[in-house]
Symmetry: C2
Subunit: 224 residues, 2 copies
């Protein structure tokens, strides 16, 4: 199995965590986004979208190549079911997917490298305006995440269940795979994350696990 | 079942299509996004995120409320499996999810109402700059969608399968639920969609189905 990815890409980080949680070995293939390698002919021949991550699995007559981090993680969870990254019950699955999509659809797309480049290039926004943009959308999304965790905690309390250890329940899920890279990315931009204590506590508990630590950008072969 | 939604919201439109494809009746509850009703106390008491759509199902001791359109559609597909909106095999599911996420993670979040409002308000961009922004990200995402359809068509040809009728295979899927609202939304902004013939052909075939027609913004009770 090969993972085409980039140390600083949050969506790549999600898949690295999932592969580690599943105990799956993979070859790390670096695609240097900041240098534009994703637009070069070598990578474009593999990937129709020029985006990372791309997971390549052996297959006949040719390898299988999977795109989109959440789709990749759900595929891994279906094909390698242990340990599960989604609950067994439909409601639990809907809760975990909604948490994951709060990161993947409400925060990350608005703040990724290509959007920040467009703000700096065609729109000629100042560094301060770009920082304000980044901060605004990250915190708006994380406050939604926090309210979801709050609501889930209240649901568990009504059922006399102990508080969740991770975003949903006692084991890491797809939601944690999405949350942790977003928190790490924001730290790099100097965010202080006031007012989201439940979210930060989940992050801290995830980062105590070797699967999350080993997937961290600073531990990647292409880290700068 | 109640769907809190807004006629012009693309994510609401996705869920309306899915409910129609499943043959599920629902009460349409309008939340007027342009007037900011999603931030009012009535809606906030139901929804922690102030986003639409929100699907409410009967439950004890209180109703179940589900957020995030793709998570809602996957829940519906698990609880009401016929007709399926995702293929049965993990690879097919990964392909459909990657198509859906190409719309839901690469296009829609960058162009939704709250982002366009931020461009007009805090960033004081001109109407022309906002139109250029919208056009840029929609077409960048749809060209990725087109290349994915092309690649899938080649895969089917290698297996001697006939071309897909919809985005993936002979029945509408989660991918079509995401694609059609994006095409409709862009038409409202005057996009002409040059260079994406496979994508437009899928759109046209979907729009021949009553489930898609009936979900269209112009057919909604709150249409203006």
């Amino acid at each position: 199995m090969k993972l085409y990815n980039y140390f600083r890409s949050g969506t790549s980080f999600r898949v690295r965590i999932a592969l580690n949680l599943k105990g799956l070995d993979y070859d790390y293939v670096a695609v240097h986004l900041a240098k534009g390698e994703q637009h070069g002919p070598t990578y474009r021949a593999l990937s129709p979208d020029g985006l990372v991550p791309l997971l390549e699995l052996e297959g006949e007559p040719q390898p299988l190549r999977l795109s989109q981090s959440m789709a990749i993680i759900e595929y891994l969870d279906e094909v390698f079911p242990e340990p599960p990254l989604l609950p067994r019950d439909p409601l639990g699955r809907a809760r975990v997917r909604a948490l994951a999509q709060t990161i993947a659809c409400e925060i990350h797309p608005i703040n990724n490298l290509r959007v920040l480049k467009y703000l700096a290039g065609p729109l000629a926004l100042s560094e301060a305006q770009r920082a304000e943009w980044y901060n605004h959308w990250v915190m708006e999304g994380l406050r939604i995440y926090e309210r979801r965790l709050q609501q889930l905690a209240e649901e568990r309390a009504r059922q006399d269940l102990p508080p969740s250890v991770y975003s949903y329940g006692d084991t890491p899920t797809l939601a944690d795979c999405c949350l942790v890279p977003q928190i790490v990315n924001g730290r790099r931009f100097g965010l202080e994350y006031d007012g989201i204590p439940l979210t930060l506590a989940v992050y801290e508990r995830c980062m105590q696990l070797e699967a999350f630590q080993r997937a961290h950008p600073s531990r990647c072969p292409d880290a700068e």
